[in-house]
């Protein structure tokens, strides 16, 4: 499986080291760190025989750089959705459910883990196609970062990739821009637009779109826009004579 682990602004170097060990235990090696803490002796000690992963980890300064080239972006969060951020954190798939979704596809999958104290920002969550939540006890749901990585990798290590190629991330980006344009065209209420865009991203994100599907969806939107435009022109024409 072509899996990238991304740690967003990890605070404790021991955790980063532990994450590399868990990754090597389950046969993964692509690690990207967004603005990490200093990585010194403790990180090396905790990485144990996975020091090569620690040394080869890519360090970047933005989430956009980290997810470059990834077809699916999965955010891992311990906090489940409330009615206040309905589309931000739901649906939250368990690692087992996520495995079922990823079985049989091909393409690079990014799994994001947030800061040890504050998790993800709202903007970071919005960037995710799907949200994953490890089912934990309500009494103490907050897992150690490296434990969460170990559990996810344990589950994902048995994923069988197939030969169904996912849509290109660039094309998916164009689809989202196109959808946003459409919402503007139909004068969708501004105060609802952000949530609706996020809902659309969640729907298409968990659908793991194929290249042809993205093209067809964009074709439909284009046709809707044209129809709308020509009707608008006719309306304008009609209006001229009505005046």
């Amino acid at each position: 499986m072509d899996l990238r682990i991304i740690l967003v602004e990890p605070l404790y170097q021991g955790n980063v080291g532990s994450v590399t060990r868990a990754m090597k235990n389950f046969g993964f090696s692509d690690l990207v760190l967004v603005n990490p803490c200093k990585l010194e002796g403790e990180a090396r000690a905790m990485s144990s025989h996975a020091r090569d992963l620690l040394e080869n980890a890519k360090i970047v300064s933005s989430l956009e750089e980290a997810i470059d080239g990834c077809s699916i972006i999965i955010g891992t969060t311990g906090i489940t959705g409330s009615r206040f951020d309905l589309h931000l954190r739901v649906p939250g798939y368990s690692p087992g459910e996520m495995k079922e979704r990823l079985n049989g596809i091909s393409g690079r999958v990014a799994v994001l883990f947030g800061r040890e104290d504050n998790g993800f920002t709202k903007e970071e969550l919005k960037r995710c196609d799907m949200i994953m939540t490890i089912p934990t006890s309500g009494v103490y749901p907050v897992m150690n970062l490296s434990h969460a990585v170990a559990v996810v990798l344990y589950e994902f290590s048995s994923i069988v990739m197939g030969d169904t190629p996912l849509a290109d991330p660039f094309d998916i980006g164009l689809l989202y821009e196109h959808l946003s344009e459409l919402l503007d065209d139909i004068d969708y209420p501004d105060h609802k637009k952000e949530k609706t865009e996020l809902m659309l991203r969640r729907i298409f994100g968990r659908a793991c779109l194929l290249p042809r599907e993205v093209q067809t969806l964009r074709g439909i939107i284009r046709k809707v826009q044209r129809t709308y435009e020509s009707e608008a022109e006719q309306d304008d024409y009609a209006n001229e004579y009505d005046d």
Copy 2:
């Protein structure tokens, strides 16, 4: 699920603290430590909000005390069986396979984790009814202790216990003694006896015997012994006249 986690002679207090955190994350609280290292500030720091579990952990000086009252003893090991210790470490079930075996039963299950450096002794492995191995990469199979606990508890937290009571551990112990006696009765070769006893323990261990099954098995052995004895007596009688 009535689950007891047993750490056998853990060497690093940070790991013990991390284990308590993972236990509380997944809703478990019964922790027994066999001759642990000193548990001080680092153990408390790593336990985070699970300090109550750390403080309530039972400390004992032998494995026998630790498993007291447990119906099934599962040993977790990263090393899979070779032909040299065939019955000692095989079959090694994955946590997922073990979950399937435990679904629906009732009784206390003990999961053992060995020393960070040397795992279990041969005698400790022999005491286990079943062996569990987390599937890891051949390149670096040795997991951090608390990662292994987190993965097992993640899997076991979805076990649905049923109302099928397991046989009493005391009665199962009598069955094994009885089987050993039988092997002596039939002059089973001494050099094979240990391995065969272990194989029998692995077979009956993974069968998760019910109370009536243990009684029936012991009844069969008793009947075999009586038949053997009476034939032996007849042989002696016949021998007297043959001389």
